[in-house]
Assembly symmetry: C2
């Protein structure tokens, strides 16, 4: 430990960037076969060792001649020459061209001795071993002289050139079958946390296990920046295990990246570890950005080290803003063409105090303008990133950005672009099924209330709402049957029995169509009974589960006796179903989006979609 | 042969594009491990099979409590709770939280039964087994409920989604360790021509051999569009061999791409072959674009087939305009963000008649504006493409585009951007050596005259010119010694001996500094002798060789007795050297480019560069 970082003071973005840039991520230059050189960056300038072409070359099909012999030839005044032979590309000339001679020659063939020009075939007429030429050519005409493309010793390509098909073609022309390119730094990716399980292993929910998101996501991000990601098994929060993993990673890699576990003070565990070990150096702890504050930068046994925060959104944000530029600088991968202008579709409030990166999604409006809307389910949600296209940066001193403001969106990558269709609203199996047939859709299942609100804000192309919305252009509507999914012990004949009995319920989340249907039914029954609020009489009314089948699945697992559900949900879970009514479900488009290709595709898909039990299409 | 194409009528661009698009290049969807999914395109929508998170999860470090127990707590009115345990992420809760209890909990841990909220650690004070909470929390506060990120059955990602780190993260969260992606069409790449030799084999210049440019360049272009390029050995112009190669390629590939050899009527050979065989179909022969007219589209044994022209510039242009869009449509790779606006630096003349793609290079001027200049050494030159950044399309009806015109440049790829330094002018070993230390340079060695002309047109950052140019800002200058490189049989004591004797010469190309020095010396001697033109007295004056050492190398190979050369050239070739004078060589910048980073780098490199024999730096 050579330097003690001040933990209380957060580094600003620029300091953090510089600190990481100065870690020195470069790896040694290496030679690769030309066939593997695409996307690599030349480590050294390449000069030509050979002439291209290596010989005086016919540039057109025609006849190789002495230019002098064609003086006076023209369309009206052809001159006859004797055909002395024929030359193809790749064939050594057999004889010289004498005075009055012509040799039939193909593009790319070696100019025979004596000849200094080519008359193109269109200006000749062949008759046996004679050819009439109808053009006066000058010496050198239609000939590409040796070295005219590139000559020996020419500076051909500079260091730092990214290799593309075109430059690969030039290198091949020069006979460079192997080229010196910048190395790809090996980046060890180590996720930490006792709760992490790889994607291909089952989870124990009761033990709080989750799939490891950071390892594959960061590996992919490392590869996109030109690095060579090396997967390490995730390690628990045990100090010894962590220390051991860091040492192993530092031994082989050019850069060690951890993403902190979510357990209490875990980043502190890493920072402390780095700070306290003899062979390490802590350069920076804490960066003044949001998300991403708990970032650690240092060295382990001389190897550059960056400790990213544990939440995927934070980890990938810090990677993108701080680490990717350093890897790209080492590998020569250019930064993606990163920005687009957009109009902010809703206001952004900001507590202020820290430089903030607000994830936004993009959508094209009817006029082809781009709107940006904040996508923020919190740093803990994977969808905060997966359903966003870029970030809007908000300065530490700004508290509020109004709706309608023109903003610059820094795109996550070159792939980032508005989806063909943005759909917000209630969950519905028929809609999901129709959307399966549409390409590049984003479906934000935030419930009916959100669907209506977003529609009023003019954001989504399409909203899925329970009821008959007043706004927008209806694309399709169904009446869908809903009721209660019942557990084996619940023998309910109707809503009355639920109110009067002791059956327990798991409810649908607020704002969803199913919740509204249940509330409406309870209200109607309350009116019948002259009692304003029957909700209190439902045991478990306030206990909710997410997802269309979420409540019913809680019944299935024995947590409750009954739950609001659609008929197909109960059927697919093998639960009995007490029908309580039908609910109108409408798919509605913003009028100015009606002509978008994505909306057209959805309309076609909705017309084709298989009808489910309990569904009636409304025309 | 099902349809006979009319060979005389060229298809327009749109017809050609449609014909190729309708060949149907798609290959079957396939499942890949998530770690290999970066850059692939989802072939089917993915729905969630699990809740994310799978349990009610603490969203902050702090204490899990019953919200009800915190009512009234605040900074000034702490409430004490009993600490009933501690919970880390990845650990099953041991006990329920009773009334008046709190459990210390880490972000990501499972909420224990009974608790419905988390008080963040910053609003608590621990004292042994008691904790004072200073915040009133509501049920659900700082808790991420099961399924709140994604719930079972949710439509997670649509078909057609390009997989990036962020979406890969989401798939991992969902436990999708293998994902259905669109296949990469296998594209057989077959170059034709007897003259072709792979880059790693030596050339026989006398037999007109050249390195195969198209195979590696087209393979790289196929890969960039998302296809799987399969290398075939190049085949000669023999009809049987061609037919056999096409059959073999069509058997395994999803698309066969040939690039025609440059021999006479070779494309006709291919078209005729395709037209005449029983198992083939010729859909299109000839496209109305320049370069690229001789393009063939059809099917071989049912497999889509495109025959590209043989010249690399033409082959890659047709690939880019017609074939790449079809491969990208099949693989879901988005088109690169293709356009930039630029100001045309010199006029473009166009014979008219065909839709023309003019390759242009880009350079940033002093104000950061982008200039475009035509880079056209002809379709036969590999540098026409390698030194260009994109194309300007000129309509068939346009004959002339004036200098200064605002044009749209279609970029070749996402990597295409102006070089850090554009240098035009004379060849010089000291300049080449200095440029080797500068990144992302483009050095167009077109000679002194071109350097001065381009400088006057305001195009390059820097020009290398023999003499003392009046325009621009001189960055560095040398006096370089020049003279005649002499063959073993040439015993020349001076220029007189060359004029009066029978020694033969190979000259430097017109427009070069070396040529000018030779001309000046001949003129001076002519003046002495009272004879206006001594050039005619030099045997071989009109015979030229490209490249700085080109003429001297012709002496080395015995083609001539003497050649103008710089001292280091003669030395490196082991030729004796007859000094005839010194020539000023100046590196000069356009004044408004002087501050560009690339120019600064060059200045630093010029100051560091090793002095060569015969060179004196001029201050």
């Amino acid at each position: 430990m050579t330097e003690r970082a001040n933990r209380r003071e957060l580094a600003d973005l620029e300091t953090a960037r510089t600190t990481i840039a100065e870690l020195g991520l470069g790896s040694e230059a290496t030679a690769v076969p030309l066939d593997d050189a695409q996307g690599r960056t030349l480590a050294a300038a390449v000069s030509a060792d050979i002439d291209v072409p290596g010989f005086d070359r016919a540039a057109m099909d025609g006849y190789a001649v002495r230019a002098n012999d064609t003086v006076g030839a023209g369309e009206a005044s052809p001159l006859e020459l004797a055909v002395a032979g024929e030359l193809h590309a790749g064939q050594p000339p057999e004889a010289a061209v004498g005075e009055g001679d012509a040799v039939e020659i193909a593009t790319g063939a070696v100019m025979p001795e004596g000849a200094d020009a080519v008359v193109v075939v269109e200006r000749t007429s062949r008759d046996g071993d004679r050819v009439a030429v109808r053009d006066t050519v000058t010496p050198g005409e239609n000939v590409l002289p040796a070295g005219a493309d590139v000559a020996v010793g020419d500076f051909a390509l500079s260091a730092g050139t990214r290799l593309t098909p075109r430059t690969i073609g030039l290198l091949s022309a020069l006979g460079e079958s192997s080229v010196p390119v910048r190395g790809r730094p090996e980046v060890a990716v180590v996720s930490t946390g006792d709760e992490l399980v790889p994607a291909d292993e089952p989870l124990d929910h009761d033990a709080g296990q989750i799939h490891d998101v950071n390892t594959p996501a960061i590996m992919a991000a490392v590869a996109a920046a030109g690095g060579e990601a090396v997967r390490f098994d995730s390690v628990g929060d045990d100090r010894e295990a962590l220390a051991d993993a860091l040492s192993r990673a530092a031994e082989t890699a050019d850069l060690v990246l951890t993403s902190g576990s979510t357990s209490a003070g875990s980043t502190d565990v890493l920072a402390t570890l780095v700070e306290e070990r003899e062979d390490t150096e802590l350069l920076l702890h804490g960066v003044d950005i949001q998300p991403g504050k708990p970032t650690v930068v240092g060295r382990i046994a001389g190897t550059p080290y960056v400790g990213l925060p544990g939440y995927p959104v934070s980890a990938l944000s810090v990677f993108r803003v701080l680490v990717a530029p350093a890897i790209r600088a080492a590998t020569g991968v250019p930064a993606p063409a990163m920005e687009t202008d957009a109009e902010l579709a809703t206001r952004v409030r900001h507590e202020g105090g820290r430089y903030r990166l607000v994830p936004v999604g993009l959508v094209a409006d009817g006029d082809g303008r781009t709107l940006a809307y904040p996508v923020d389910k919190g740093s803990g949600a994977t969808t905060s990133l997966a359903y966003a296209d870029g970030v809007v940066t908000v300065a530490a001193t700004t508290n509020y950005v109004p709706s309608g403001e023109r903003v610059t969106v820094e795109l996550f990558d070159d792939e980032a672009r508005p989806p063909a269709l943005l759909c917000v609203g209630d969950r519905d199996p028929v809609v999901s099924s129709a959307l399966s047939g549409v390409e590049r859709v984003r479906y934000l299942a935030r419930g009916t209330q959100a669907g209506e609100q977003w529609l009023a804000d003019g954001i989504p192309d399409v909203a899925v709402v329970a009821g008959d919305p007043e706004d927008g252009t209806a694309l399709a509507a169904w009446d869908r049957e809903w009721g209660l999914a019942l557990g084996p012990n619940a023998d309910l004949s109707g809503l009355d029995a639920l109110i009067d009995g002791d059956a327990t319920v798991v409810n649908a989340a607020p704002g969803t169509g199913l919740r509204a249907a249940f509330d409406d039914a309870l209200a109607a029954l309350g009116e019948e009974r002259g009692r304003a609020n029957l909700r209190d009489a439902v045991d478990g009314y306030g206990v909710t589960a997410h997802g269309l089948d979420g409540p019913a699945r809680r019944v299935k697992s024995g947590d409750a006796d009954a739950a609001p559900a659609l008929r197909p949900s109960a059927a697919s879970l093998g639960l009995s179903f007490l029908p309580l009514g039908t609910q109108r479900l409408t798919v509605v488009a913003l009028p100015d989006r009606r002509e978008k290709d994505g909306v057209e595709s959805l309309v076609a898909a909705l017309d084709e979609v298989e009808k489910l039990p309990g569904y009636e299409r409304v025309e």
